[in-house]
Symmetry: none
Subunit: 74 residues, 5 copies
């Protein structure tokens, strides 16, 4: 296999890893809005944690994206 | 393997990553409508968070789509 | 590998991505009917959100389908 | 790889995508029967939504099946 | 297959592993904010455990990233 062909396959494989952040962020915001609707007054107290968690979960998608780019153009 | 053949396989692999957003958005809206039916008056307070979360989860599908396109036509 | 053979494999791989929407839509409608049975009068208030969420989750299946078609016939 | 061999593998890969609908429909009916046992009188009000959700989730399995057929016989 | 080509494929495969941390962190923070909104006064008592859990889950993404880097440049 030539190196150029392997880059296409490797980048494609690495990109599968973004799926996890898609699931995780959906779960996180789902729990937040679900509980926030039951007790709207208290939802604000957890907004900071919501966005910290989102950033940490999204980071895994960025990891996958970064490696895909690195394989493709590195 | 020729580079053209590898592009087809790589784009196919990258596309698997859209699955995560499909799951995440379903969970997020599921929690929203589930809680919104129990307490309809408060559902409006979380609509903003619903769409922020949706956009962030959908973004992972766009990442996967973007890499697939990049591999296919890049 | 010939390009025609790679198209078959690539389209097959891309199609795996539809799985996410199948899970997500099932969860979304599951939460809706589950809460709707507990509080049938309020279910109507969330029908709009139900179908917005369904469309956004289904969109990820359409992404996967589109890329599969693009690989197969593009 | 010959094109005939690639068709067999590609159709097999595409079929993995039906897994999502299997999970999603199971969750959907699970939520329905779970809530329906708690409040049997109200279960009838959500039967329509149950079958709309089932059809939309099942559609993703049909997508996977269609692509598998297209790869195999297209 | 040449060693250079195998490096691209290996790094791509390793990167799929980041998906787990994306899901896990989303679940963890989701449970935290969900329960924290129901009982905001007690949420602070669990912040330490939240970040220990996050670090341990994120570590798996770092492992995957480290091995991918090691394969690519090692």
């Amino acid at each position: 296999m030539e190196i150029e062909a392997a880059k296409m396959l490797g980048a494609g494989l690495a990109t599968i890893g973004v799926a996890g952040a898609g699931i995780g962020i959906g779960m996180l915001f789902g729990q937040f809005v679900g509980a926030g609707i039951r007790n709207p007054a208290a939802a604000k107290t957890q907004t900071g944690n919501l966005f910290v968690g989102m950033a940490l979960s999204e980071a895994t998608a960025i990891f996958a994206l970064g490696i895909a780019m690195l394989i493709l153009f590195g």
